[in-house]
Subunit: 391 residues, 2 copies
């Protein structure tokens, strides 16, 4: 049997080599300014951002070693090495065997590339780099602690390039197809699962990759608890159905939400859905380069307050979006649209604005959209009728 | 507007209170044997297992505080408290506000319940408890280190109860529906996304919750790299299509895989798919309470070796399955079926056996099934024709 490659050795990367080089350059400047010579990151979104390498196996140990003067080095499981060679702009890829100690392998890589003894920082807020591994790595390196390089790469990710925005827009097309199908699936006798079935069918058919986070199709009181998903509940007469759709293109995520009202529930639900819609519109109108996160949030919160619904709007108005792998599709850990947040918006930032309302044990309503910040205002990344859908 | 609850205050839990009490008792015995008085865990699967509480918001900080003599205490974001009250067997639920320091809140809870000064261990291998948080928690508690309680709860999770097995079987029904639809969707002109669309549609329609990990529907050479998913590639004449379906019921995951062959590719693919099928059958035949993980793996590996394919079978034969939330649907971190693993199988363990074969840059084939270990052998958790599907 021959191992001769029948496919081209490299797939086309989602971005030009120049764009990857520019990203790396920005990160290196921030490393230098922070006095960091070597930065270890296991955050899968950061690895995708800087190298193009994306694999479902991201939750097993792999680390990108960034340094001021050497090319980035990826250490990953041996079985991932070929994929990294094909699907990334990396030139230095090292594998470790499953029978090998991964911290030993990290030490070996740092030694081989002459990086031991440099000022090394670890990204301490990473999810897939456990405390247990940190403790063994410290022992292996013979140090008591490492500096924390959290946020250095994320800061660069906040501003999206033209091509990144194109990908989020494309993900928006998948959202629209998915949400249209979900709304159409609300018919007498349907369950939440029938709605989710239609939504995911349309989303994949439109071209989406897997989402960074589960979409939400929840009917009736269950939606009032939040963080719920389709779980076989029937859509009943006079139910309010909470729908948050997603789409993903080249790992860039986009979201879009609407409310469906079945029959004639308590009129308060219509008032609440209208308040969510108006709060969304107000946040969009307040958005432009130079505005603060707080100001945009305030615009939405003021609408809710005037509608007498302020006490039910206890969460942030939105969060940054971009690259996302499960379990999170947003960049809320990078930046949010929230009260008392003085961060100034810049052109090229993208946000999912979701001023939804939930009443515990009763239900939830939502209007949400994804938008791009421009010099003079905003541009929509999704297009969908701004209305409540009645069934 | 009234906040009067319109739904019953508690949903029916997936397991009886007696079963939750039994699980807690087993964990406490292991804590006591390890000299641990208080165990902090943020592992979402462990929280689901011991309390029934499951929320999509599991990746934001929440911690279950287990102690030898006090009821379990959940500390979670304030907005999750109601859901935890409704969807768990917990009697002690504490919330922290988003504006509050979460480590401060952890300290407050330990103090309130008289647990400061006890022998406290942290589950150090948890993904959603970062090194950054660990460092700040140590400072807040005024200690240099905490003991590591990793694996204590996982050990108890290995053996499934009758009801857990019922749930995995039900998830198996979703796998079967999903895989049937995926195979039917392989028609001239279809893309991987058309196949995924059909698979997810059928999976949700059958009743599945969201999966703990993305299912894989990959055509042609891309499947040879592993850890790939549907990404808009066309299914071409003479392609081999790699299909790994999933299903989830009450957060219990099940998996099932088959190979579809389109047209007349190189005959080696048929030989490889048959070897995967025979290796799966051999592993199943070797499985019974008292056998070792190594022996079951060896049975599959011997088949591959005799077929001259040993060098392409470089990974484990299978992994434990049960509760799973993204990004992982398996319990591979708890137990695997692997070479040189002396662990003795016990009745009530469940595994996904997946002796697949991948040729880098060429493609992949797979037969996989989920099975239950019994005293005398095994029981299938999925039912599907044991054949290659030709198109």
């Amino acid at each position: 049997m021959s191992d001769r490659a029948t496919a081209s050795a490299r797939t086309e990367l989602p971005f030009s080599r120049e764009e990857y080089a520019l990203r790396l350059d920005k990160v290196r400047r921030r490393m230098a300014a922070a006095g960091i010579e070597v930065l270890l990151t296991t955050v899968p979104e950061n690895i995708v951002y800087l190298t193009g390498y994306s694999s479902l196996g991201y939750f097993t140990y792999q680390v990108l070693v960034l340094s001021l003067h050497h090319e980035p080095i990826l250490l990953t499981r041996a079985i991932n090495v070929e994929k990294a060679q094909v699907d990334s702009c990396l030139t230095c890829i090292e594998g470790y065997r499953d029978t090998e100690d991964a911290d030993e392998a990290t030490h070996r890589v740092l030694e081989r590339y002459g990086l031991l003894g440099k000022r090394i920082a670890n990204q301490d807020d990473a999810w897939f780099f456990s405390v247990a591994r940190y403790k063994t790595l410290l022992r292996r390196l013979g140090v008591n602690d490492l500096a924390d390089g959290s946020g250095l790469i994320e800061h660069v990710r906040r501003i999206k390039s033209r091509r990144e925005i194109d990908y989020i827009r494309q993900a928006g097309r998948y959202c629209e197809a998915s949400l249209r199908a979900a709304i159409a699936a609300v018919v007498p006798g349907a369950t939440e699962n029938d709605v989710a079935a239609a939504a995911y069918q349309a989303m994949y058919q439109a071209g989406s990759e897997f989402l960074g986070h589960e979409a939400q199709y929840v009917a009736g009181p269950a939606a009032g608890l939040g963080f719920e998903c389709a779980k076989r509940r029937p859509v009943r007469a006079d139910d309010v159905v909470y729908m948050e759709a997603g789409g993903t293109h080249q790992r860039y995520n986009c979201m879009l939400s609407r409310t469906v009202i079945v029959g004639r529930p308590d009129p308060k639900w219509i008032a609440m859905a209208e308040a969510s819609r108006d709060a969304l519109d107000a946040a969009k109108a307040a958005m432009h380069a130079g505005a603060t996160s707080h100001e945009v949030d305030r615009a939405a919160r003021t609408v809710m307050g005037k509608a007498g619904l302020g006490r039910y709007f206890s969460h942030r108005t939105g969060y940054s979006i971009g690259i996302g792998l499960p379990p999170d599709w947003g960049e809320g850990r990078i930046m949010s649209i929230n009260e008392n947040d003085p961060t100034v918006l810049e052109s090229g930032m993208c946000f999912h604005l979701i001023p939804d309302l939930k009443l515990v044990h009763q239900g939830g309503v939502v209007f949400s959209e994804s938008v791009l910040v421009t010099e003079t205002g905003h541009e929509a990344l999704t297009e969908f009728p701004s209305e409540i859908f009645f069934k």
